[in-house]
């Protein structure tokens, strides 16, 4: 059930959350966090849909914030709902006029008591999410360098430069299956890695992070090669036994080769948004490995 509130404010939205709960006959909810989604009108539906699916693993109060035209007097409109496939509560809040400069004033009173807050920018993100008005409210700030609409080349580098504890990027989340497979490969072939390379399409923030991660962990230079994609198409580690190699030409099925072993197929599908978001919300503390990787990436770019 969705209730439209026009020319409203935070306390009316909060009251509507409570009314919706009582209407549903269930005054207790097991929500574990508040998720703030900062998005434009075009991206709102997709982002809310992804959050809805992720809410099944992480029941949350989801606050979609659409920052509209900043001119004129401030207007707050909201659509408040529960049910309809959501595990938790949701409000899509549209801001126009002066109030777009003060979105935190609307969001702050709506944060669930005590529990953690995550913020997610599905497309364009602020240069420094931790200093952003809404980002400051959150302990976890999720950007997506692969989906910015302007400055694609620089987006990831900018995020790594601006890294502050709690930041993370979905380009990093997309890497988890690759990293897991590479780590498992080295469990089997514990020798020293002498060289490594990563091939991916020309613009691939995930590939850049993979290069930085491998270089940082293995203390070697890692070559970055360009391919036609999609996404990352191969990763190769040279060991004294021979070559460990993962090739994924089609974005779905990879071939895993390692020294002295037959080649084997491995499903390595590119994950979709709800899965990525759900993984991201599973650990809300600082991601130390990402922090180290971001530092390494900045250092590599400078050298």
């Amino acid at each position: 059930m969705k209730i439209q509130l026009t020319e409203t404010n935070a306390s009316e939205i909060a009251a509507e959350f409570m009314r919706a709960r009582i209407r549903a006959g269930s005054p207790v909810m097991g929500m574990v966090m508040t998720l703030i989604i900062v998005v434009d009108e075009d991206g709102a539906d997709d982002a809310m849909e992804a959050a809805k699916e992720a809410s099944h693993e992480h029941p949350a109060r989801v606050l979609g914030v659409i920052l509209g035209d900043g001119r004129g007097a401030g207007v707050v409109n909201a659509q408040v709902g529960t049910g309809g496939g959501w595990a938790g509560e949701t409000a899509l809040i549209r801001l126009k006029g002066e109030v777009t400069k003060h979105p935190e004033s609307v969001v702050l009173p709506l944060l669930l008591p005590d529990s953690p807050v995550a913020a997610w920018w599905p497309k364009d993100h602020p240069d420094d999410p931790a200093e952003d008005a809404l980002g400051r409210l959150a302990g976890r700030r999720i950007t997506d360098a692969a989906f910015v609409t302007r400055g694609k080349l620089k987006a990831l580098h900018g995020q790594c430069l601006a890294y502050s504890p709690g930041n993370t990027d979905l380009a990093w989340t997309r890497l988890t299956p690759w990293r897991a497979l590479l780590a498992a490969a080295l469990d089997q072939h514990p020798g020293r890695v002498t060289a490594a390379s990563v091939s991916a399409e020309r613009i691939s923030p995930s590939a850049d992070l993979l290069v930085a991660w491998l270089a940082d962990r293995l203390k070697i230079d890692v070559a970055r090669r360009t391919s036609d994609g999609p996404g990352i198409t191969s990763a190769v580690l040279e060991t004294k036994d021979g070559e460990i190699r993962i090739d994924r030409p089609d974005g779905r099925l990879a071939t895993f080769s390692s020294p002295g072993k037959p080649d084997r197929p491995v499903a390595l599908k590119r994950k979709d948004l709800p899965e990525l978001l759900a993984e991201e919300l599973r650990h809300l503390d600082e991601d130390d490995v990402y922090a180290a990787t971001a530092r390494a990436l900045v250092k590599q770019a400078a050298s």
């Binding site: 207790v28 909810m29 097991g30 929500m31 574990v32 809410s55 099944h56 693993e57 992480h58 029941p59 595990a87 938790g88 989340t173 988890t176 299956p177 990293r179 897991a180 497979l181 590479l182 780590a183 498992a184 080295l186 469990d187 089997q188 514990p190 890695v193 491998l214 962990r217 293995l218 203390k219 779905r252 099925l253 895993f256 390692s258 072993k261 037959p262 084997r264 197929p265 491995v266 499903a267 390595l268 599908k269 759900a278 993984e279 599973r282 650990h283 991601d287 130390d288 490995v289």
Partner: protein
């Protein structure tokens, strides 16, 4: 864990630079290995094991080259076996069907036709496994899953031994997986264990009690030991008694052959309910590794004492025809294959004491049954009443005992029952229930119990598997009850769709208590 596995497999342990204890995202992926499945056509294989294997592959938790060999008395080829798995996965897998995952898996399917006494077939099995080590890189690591009736365990295990399938080469492993029933009394459990023990070392035997793979059961430990507010109350100072219930709304269906002669107590109390009791009642383990958990579970199971008068403190029943949930259902004796003189119980309840300081004078009531009111498994910790009430007796008339209920399935969650004022000008207090449901988190996206357990077998991670000593301890508890019942003739009848026989209710009334309606 995966890196622990790696350490045991490589002679010179050297830290993997790509692993970092801080890296919580990296999942545990099993090392190179394969699974040999005996009992391919059984319900359990088709409904649970095969779908769980697929789901594991789909989540990227199986190693590249993972292989599965089916063994059965069928004239099948590899592709016939693959077809069986395919159908089962399509019908029962929890994650979506993806062609590339299927291709990865199916490339490692093999089938070996034969009898359990057939030497040629086991020789064929050995060659198949060796070929897989060559072609698929399974590295000599194989788990034998005995999804077959226990009477065949002896034959299969002997064959595995004779054909040198049970003894791994250096740096690889062989494991055996068995399902309940682990015997039907202490003696038979020991015999069964001797059969396995003679061939596989104890740490290579994985006994599956699928309850222990359930997220909500593992969560009992989290609730108890990760929080500050429950454990201080978790003792005889505050707890009046504990009720552990596993109720099913279905009858025995087509399982007469298995069920007759076994009954509710052997089928459910011996394993699931006593394991739940152990987790609820045990002391805090010094860590969550297998050895520490087993130590604590064993301690508490060994301190369980039966009451002296079993006639007053146990109850059993058989369901009559009746109406269950708006459907007319047959009675136990109308089920096909149940002899008219069967004494097998379909309902069993027992009262147990735990002789420790923590639980002195706190009875644990365990019950299970078929064709009960609804399907539910729960643990209810019922607290004592407040020692003093400043309110008048009339004000607190409606107030009963505070209770904390952990629902294991379905509707996984927790209920807290406490007293609260009735709105209005008068001071009256009544019970309110605060009900917490795990918002789908533990039901949809989380792995099924079998996924978790099969992965743990492949990783060699044993905390969630009961050890033989626990099996023995639980038979020691149950055997006197079973013997008592065997001397007492026929169980009481109870109408289908109700909460069991009147004798079970009387059993609690004698103690001044009553069963919760779950």
């Amino acid at each position: 864990m995966a890196d622990r596995d790696a350490r045991t497999q490589t002679k010179a342990p050297r830290a993997n630079p790509l692993r970092d204890p801080q890296d919580k995202r990296l999942p545990r992926i099993a090392g190179p290995c394969g699974l040999v499945l005996f009992g391919v056509t059984g319900d359990l294989s088709r409904k649970k094991i095969m779908p769980a294997i697929y789901d594991l592959a789909n989540r990227g938790l199986l190693p590249p080259g993972f292989s599965m060999v089916g063994f059965a008395r069928r004239e099948w080829h590899d592709q016939d076996f693959a077809q069986i798995v395919h159908d089962s996965v399509k019908q029962y897998a929890r994650t979506e069907f993806r062609e590339e995952v299927w291709r990865q898996l199916a490339a490692g399917f093999r089938f070996v036709p034969g009898d359990f006494s057939d030497d040629v077939a086991f020789e064929h099995l050995r060659r198949t496994i060796e070929e897989l080590d060559e072609e698929r890189g399974t590295a000599g690591n194989h788990a034998f899953y005995l999804s077959i009736p226990p009477k065949f365990f002896g034959d299969v295990v002997r064959q595995l031994h004779e054909h040198k399938l049970a003894s791994p080469d250096d740096g690889s492993w062989r494991r055996v997986v068995v399902e309940k029933p682990f015997g039907h009394d202490l003696t038979s459990a020991r015999e069964l264990n001797d059969v396995l023990d003679g061939v596989f070392p104890p740490e290579s035997v994985f006994r599956i009690d699928h309850y222990l793979g359930k997220e909500t059961v593992q969560n009992i430990l989290a609730i108890r030991f990760a929080n500050a507010m429950f454990e201080p109350l978790w003792n005889s100072n505050y707890v009046d008694h504990v009720q552990i219930t596993m109720a099913e709304d279905i009858g025995i269906g087509g399982r007469a052959g298995y069920y007759d002669g076994i009954g509710a107590a052997r089928d459910v109390i011996q394993n699931h309910l006593l394991q739940l009791l152990a987790l609820v009642a045990m002391e805090e383990p010094i860590s969550f590794d297998a050895a520490s958990l087993v130590t604590e579970k064993l301690k508490v199971l060994s301190s369980v004492r039966l009451p002296a008068r079993l006639d007053l403190t146990t109850a059993r029943g058989q369901y009559d025809a009746g109406w269950s949930g708006g459907v007319k259902v047959p009675g136990f004796f109308d089920e096909e294959g149940i002899p008219a003189d069967s004494h097998t119980e379909t309902y069993a309840a027992v009262k147990l004491h735990i002789d420790t300081r923590r639980w002195a004078n706190v009875p644990f009531y365990l019950r299970t049954g078929k064709r009960l009111g609804r399907r539910v498994t729960e643990v209810a910790v019922v607290f004592k009443q407040a020692p003093h009430q400043p309110f008048s007796a009339t004000a607190t008339e409606d107030l009963t005992h505070n209770a904390l209920v952990i629902r294991v399935q379905p509707d996984e969650g927790m209920t807290l029952r406490f007293g609260s004022k009735v709105p209005g000008t008068a001071m009256e207090i009544r019970d309110v229930s605060m009900d917490f449901a795990y918002g789908g988190a533990f039901t949809e996206s989380s792995p099924e119990a079998y996924e978790r357990l099969i992965l743990d077998v492949l990783l060699g991670d044993p905390p969630l598997f009961p050890r033989h000593a626990e099996v023995e301890a639980s038979w020691k508890i149950l055997d006197p009850v079973l013997e008592h019942w065997a001397r007492r003739g026929k169980p009481d009848a109870y109408p289908s769709g109700t909460w069991g026989p009147a004798s079970a209710d009387k059993m609690l009334v004698r103690d001044g208590r009553s069963w919760r309606r779950p």
